[in-house]
Symmetry: C3
Subunit: 392 residues, 3 copies
């Protein structure tokens, strides 16, 4: 992380500059535990500065935090951001905003929106740990990503943002020092940094407590949909009244776990498992027809929970779990040398008219396709998995 310092300092400087020039800030983040902790770290650092410069109500006029529905900067998002910025500019004489994308923004999928923002001279910063595509850099005035210095995905955005927050406003260091640890457990980071951040706050929070905060964030964000839920999120992250924090975490985790348990009872009963040619076990679950919909946990998390349980049941085996709906599939894997982005590329080329897209990380990801080709895409996907090398 030392190697990232110059880039982090640059980003910190740009954020401070925006505040001092009363440039509005739009902070967009991935709607999961890592994305939320990332954004909150920055928020905690900048709100006092914004208020210093612009007065007590400035945080409502010069700052907006917004979780993104998609795991990238969507066209619908940038359209809203530009629209509001143009109205604020013509009505209130505001400057065009600085957009900060955290735990989001490093990939090719962000480019269409970034190009629209650039037409309007909107400056953008990205702090992310998803594997970056070089093409995004031309649209950014700053980009922090561990991959730029050979770093690991396990260095989460929450860690990066917390360090940058400290550079922006050292006074908040103490307040936010547990956020990297929450982000680490939220993203299941196995990087050495994760262990260090976790031990850094072990006097205050056990590992279990950190996991509870991460789960509570996921659960609460589900009900918040795409609102920021400022006060509630602050309380989940123990940034307000500690007694409320304790009661809230206990309650939210109890509710989340009950709902996960109910969902699993339905799903596990309907999982189809088979042994593939490469000796891996492939589990398939139809999350459209055999899971409760429009409730917590949503399809992606449901598939993940099913996977975790099935992995525990067969230790030492290579396991792939696929949760599919009418036009998508979520993939989790363990012990097998998956390269999901490559599989997606191949399916896209081999299957004309199937509209395959998607990606993600090497071993965890998702695929979209047109409904009419679901059976064919899933069959081809299974074939490709069956010919992938297992690790054990």
């Amino acid at each position: 992380m030392e190697k990232l310092k110059p880039r982090m300092l640059l980003v910190a400087k740009e954020i401070k500059k925006a505040i001092f020039h009363s440039r509005p800030i739009i902070l967009r983040h991935h709607a999961d535990a890592d994305g939320i902790t990332s954004a909150i770290a920055i928020e905690r650092a900048i709100l006092p500065l914004i208020t210093d410069i612009g007065g007590t109500d400035a945080e409502y006029y010069f700052y907006k935090r917004a979780p993104s529905k998609a795991p990238f900067y969507e066209l619908a998002d940038v359209t809203r951001d530009i629209s509001f910025a143009l109205e604020d500019s013509s009505r209130h004489g505001q400057k065009m905003p600085l957009v900060i994308l955290v735990d989001n923004g490093s990939t090719e999928e962000d480019v269409p929106s970034m190009r629209q923002a650039r037409v309007y001279g909107i400056d953008m910063l990205v702090i992310d740990h998803h594997h970056p595509d070089e093409i995004v850099d031309q649209y950014l005035i700053g980009h922090v990503n561990p991959a730029h210095v050979g770093g690991d995905f396990g260095v989460t955005s929450g860690m990066l943002c917390t360090e940058i927050a400290r550079m922006i406003n050292p006074k908040v260091s103490d307040t936010i020092k547990h956020l990297p640890a929450v982000s680490a457990v939220g993203d299941r980071s196995e990087a050495p940094e994760a262990a260090r951040y976790i031990s850094l706050v072990s006097d205050h929070y056990t590992l279990e407590e950190l996991k509870e905060m991460a789960l509570a964030l996921d659960y609460e964000q589900f009900w918040l949909k795409f609102s920021s839920g400022k006060g509630l999120i602050d309380d989940i992250l123990d940034l307000g009244d500690n007694a409320i924090h304790n009661k809230l975490i206990f309650l939210l985790c109890e509710q989340a776990n009950t709902m996960i348990k109910e969902q699993l009872e339905i799903c596990l009963f309907n999982v189809k498992s088979q042994k593939l040619a490469n000796d891996a076990i492939m589990n398939v679950i139809d999350v459209e027809n055999y899971a409760q919909k429009f409730t917590f946990p949503p399809p992606g998390k449901t598939s993940g929970e099913v996977h975790d349980i099935l992995v525990k049941k067969s230790p030492g085996r290579a396991i792939v779990t696929i949760g599919y709906g009418p036009d998508f599939a979520v993939i989790r894997s363990k012990g097998i040398l998956m390269n999901i982005p490559r599989i997606v590329r191949e399916l896209r080329e081999e299957m004309k008219g199937a509209g395959v897209s998607g990606g993600g990380h090497l071993v965890v990801g998702s695929i979209k396709f047109v409904e009419g080709m679901r059976t064919e895409v899933l069959a081809k996907l299974a074939e490709k998995i069956a010919s992938t090398k297992v690790e054990y």
Copy 2:
């Protein structure tokens, strides 16, 4: 209803106390005719007091009326309510609100939200006539429900709320005295109280006119979605200009009845009827595939209208009507000793992985399940109905 008086006085006192202490009030209600009349009765009583205490704009800052999408206090609702309350508190120094749930709030399904509200010290009152679960009481500072004193479901929430409104602000008694009658016909109450309230206003409104108001409320709320539609609702309930009331009621009922007629033409053509072993007639209609969607009347009301017509066609017969969609079924029945909550419990236990939930009243209710198990659930449901005792 006399026996409920002490509880009603307590609730009235708590509401007045909140107003006098400038505590904001959030009034959440079921989005049907009974729920709306309940809420409007309270609204009429408290708005003048809120304005007295807080000035002309106070009703916009210290009061919000919001219909609930679900027939209970949903997690998405409480999340919004807490979020806004926390923002109003931190930005405008407001107190945490008093939440009043009317024609809603008496059952176990409300508990998860109530627990979240309680974490933030939000006081809650419930005025409801759905069969109450004792568990809710620990979260409430007041709860009025006829079942507590052995009363009947036919004592509607609209009746209870109107009486409480009179206790809060006697000056409005005359203005709102027809609301209980509208709620009674809306909920098809056959309780003696219904007849009394209807005759109480018979100088002003015929039974037909009361029914028209109830239908107009249902129809208008459908288009309002989950807005409160204050002015429109006031005019439907004849609380404003009487000439507008008359024109509006005539128009809305004409439009609603035309749409119901069109929907029925489609549905009735596609109803499948069969005689069960117990001699009851079971009518089944697929409201996903054989009804117009996303328009008035919605699936629940559509099923009810189909049922009413089929009941008329076979007087003196036990009749069950089931309207089903991909993951739900709505049940209406007549002349058969149904116990829907018990059927739901049994299905839930007997059918692993089907995700059965739901409930409602003894003879009217709904069931949810996962899409993949629809055929099995409906078959089992038919079996259970066939072995239920008929009344005639």
Copy 3:
């Protein structure tokens, strides 16, 4: 168009009168290129007058532009409009608004909403070129439609609104003179007026540039959903900074064309074509199962693009293209004497319980039906097309 002048002057006068009396104006328009240019022409003319009368912020209090989701004045729209008007009236003492419907409002489908508006004494004006139903006139204080004087559908709403805008405020004539040309290419008008308006601005915009503006409007409105996107729309129509206009058009068209190309690759691969008894070619594409959903281009535009390509492939042949989803079908045709409104009427009468509705123009339109009858409706539709006379 000369013959329409008296009606246009009347409408212009009514709009000016509303402004001078500080009556709020709600401008609702079809959400396509013709509808947007229509609305922007009027907007440009009236905003300076509204500001003159009411001060700098008046445009936010006395004016609202809102694209309509449906191609008519929907009940949900009028409900919102009435609700807000009643609140503005009771809270801010505002008058009830004048509603102006452009590129919308001439047909029977608008009547239910107009009747609701009339209950509240809301005056309405319509400027439209869709085939008018006489019944609407009783609800309007002014109605401009070329069909009233034997004119052609090819005289677009954008042309009419621009002329009316010039009557309202002659100073804007120069600014908006390209809008009729954009609307003409957007609606593919082949009327002589189209050629005249296009040549009128040929010094400034090539035909290609006009088409790009129309495409950019469609694309941007898709992402705006049902926001007005004022500043963005202004820039697309070159009403602001010309450098931004150029960059924005280039970018939006590049993105729109890329997405159309991707969609077509999927769709064309899945089109089923057959020769009918009347020698016409019927192309059928399942846009639910073989097209990307919830993205640009939406089903209607997708079907149109498929049709255009297939027409080019078989010059001189009669061609009908049907894009269908679970409960709808979009129809495009060329070289065949289709009368879609009549076909819809016949299907509605012949197929009990199928819930057929819809319409549109003679050769371009859409049909709705209940999902369970899709196969039957499409088969019957194909039969009717096969017995329609081809033109070549």
